[in-house]
Amino acid sequence: MRYNALQILKQGLTGHKGWKPAWRKAEPKPEYDIIIVGGGGHGLATAYYLAKQFEQKRIAVVEKGWIGGGNVGRNTTIIRSNYMLHENEGFYEFSLKLWENQEQDFNYNSMVSQRGIINLFHSDPQRDAYVRRGNAMALNGADPVLLDQDALRKKCPFLNFDNARFPIQGGLWQPRGGTVRHDAVAWGYARGADKRGVDIIENCEVTGFLIDQGVCSGVETTRGTIKAKKIGVAVAGSSSRVMAMAGMRLPMESHVLQAFVSEGLKPVIPGVITYGAGHFYVSQSDKGGLVFGGDIDGYNSYAQRGNLPVVEDVCEGGVSLMPMIGKARVLRMWGGIMDMSMDGSPIIDKTHVNGLYFNGGWCYGGFKATPASGYCFAQLIATDAPHETAKAMRMDRFSRGLMIDEKGQGAQPNLH
């Protein structure tokens, strides 16, 4: 069923009895051409683009729980392409272009809202660094705008401009950045993939890979053995655990990142704002809640919940940046598990096992990458050649010294 205004009118007049589930509850078949492990945003997007763009058949997505229950439902919904390194910026700009056309492409309302993102700067050197980053963005076709303090005051008069320690001098604005309804991204891709014949198999945990003489020919699952010619793994957060079953050690650690939402307020925050001198970023959801977060907790964790020192740090950052939110009450907080890679950048690549492909290491930037990650991974699986914008995201870059280290922190995952 295609969703459109006419359909709403028709269903409205017939008591809303004609709506169908957006995807089937598929049972596993004994064999597929392609299996995607992981029914999150990236896995579902991969299956969608495999079926739609690369015209592959006989595809399954296997998910240990329910689809969209991991990081695609746990993030702060921000989309942007304001990276500096060429290897990243081209990819994220490609992703932003896919976001811009996403709703039309998969015929689902994912509420893509290009309300803009502003990264604040607090000193002359930081301004210069942002100018440089803006130029790098422009070279890849993105839309940086440097705001001075006057321009910023008009947009966000509530900021603590005259903070004695970190005065706000201006910001790097990307008007095309914004937010997306994150759950709808998973649902939209699931629906689009299902419509093209992809089997989405929930409650089906992978417990092993069938690997013989360097060739992967399927997966063992809690619902039986499933054979396939090609297997793509997109399970960020659990990458090390899953790939260990294929005998691989990965260049990453799993860390917990917390996020928060306040009670609903009247519209106050125009877009996404990030603090340049503390760990805090915020946007306001359409329901009015302030959605905010900060840094990872900093130690290995698979717990999906964090500890209080980071809560305090994030709230201190928020109140020092915009004192008015000190009166808002926090409604909920939660944690998600990040694949923190050794250079802060992701991997989309083949593995040394034939037929086994890997997508992971997204750190805390996975949500905005969802469409491009799915597209590039689908292209890699379908054609065995990397997408133009994902060529550098190789598995062997650490042994070859070709790291993509946006922050220049080195091999210390909790600092990226």
Binding site: S238, S240, R241, A244, R249, L250, P251, M252, E253, S254, G298, Y299, N300, S301, Y302, A303, N307, P309, M342, F398, S399, A411, Q412, P413, N414
Partner: protein
Amino acid sequence: MIIHHPLLGPRDSAEFIYLGDASLMERPDPKAENAQELFYKYLYLRDNPAGEHKELWYHEQGDRSWLILTRNTVTHEITHVELARRSK
């Protein structure tokens, strides 16, 4: 998290800086024939287990000692703490 420091007693984990897997204590032999391969694995690859994990914490806002914690990465429960210099 409360870390029971062997010398100082219970301390808030916020006083510490986290480094990572305690296997970082075992530095490879730079004179080995395959030293490049060994250092690549040492520097970049991690077991990253879900469950019990031995890891290095530095008491930066305390006595500046390095500790080895045995901590569960699923529950955050700390079951053992020792001074890194005593672990050998």
